[in-house]
């Protein structure tokens, strides 16, 4: 890994792992002493990104989801959720509020919430090769 201050979690794309991914992400964030609200924002964004990968990436089986966390700046955390699944053909459409291909169990608001709860969000994808969701969260200095 290029950045020494980073951690990586590789997990099967199973919904039972969503909670563990949140715990992993918040445990890493603790080193910057975030507020409870900042921690909740990180947990929420990670939950959305990991769930998207679990629900959409591997329709014909169980692939792998990789969650990486790193300290990017003095008070900036970066999280990356990556899969090697079927990818997204139309990213703007996928990010449109209420758009979903997931049926009743999905609201189509995952990306909307991710954008609201983070300071920056970038989605890259190649059909047939996978999707990467990267977001940053600033942690305010504690007085």
């Amino acid at each position: 890994m290029k950045n020494k201050d980073s951690v990586r979690l590789e997990m099967p794309a199973l919904s039972v792992n969503e909670g563990f991914a949140r715990v992993f992400a918040s445990a890493f964030a603790a080193r910057l002493d975030p507020t409870l609200e900042e921690l909740a924002d990180i947990r929420t964004a990670v939950s959305e990104a990991v769930t998207n990968a679990i629900v959409h990436a591997y329709p014909d089986g169980v692939g792998t989801v990789v969650l990486t966390a790193r300290v990017k700046g003095e008070r900036l955390l970066e999280y990356t959720v990556k899969d090697r699944g079927r990818g997204i053909e139309d990213i703007p459409q996928a990010m449109t509020p209420m758009f979903t291909t997931g049926g009743e169990e999905r609201s189509g608001l995952g990306f909307t919430i991710m954008e609201s709860f983070t300071d920056s969000l970038k989605v890259t994808s190649s059909p047939g090769k996978g999707t990467t969701v990267r977001f940053c969260k600033k942690i305010a200095p504690r007085l």
Partner: protein, 106 residues
Amino acid sequence: MDISCSTGFEGGRITLMGELDHHASLEAIRKAGEFIEEFKPGEVTVDMSGVGFMDSSGIAFLFSAMRRVKLYGGRLRVKGLNAQCRRILTSAGIAGLLNIGEERYI
């Protein structure tokens, strides 16, 4: 997540305890759906005071329950949202749509 459903004089009550993510919502949608369709209570209260975390899967759960209740003209009430759950609904821009308050019927 623990989900319990009951009926009484005040109508139906669905009580959730735990974290309402995609994994938990699959079971919650199924159980709540079966309960609503079997008893068709005129008023259904979803008690979320025991929910410490939810993501957009929680919205899907609430929409699913609301749709089922409205099919027969009933009302859904959401109670006990903590700050994080409330912020999910606000950030998604649907707090007004769902008319979420301290205790509101939707």
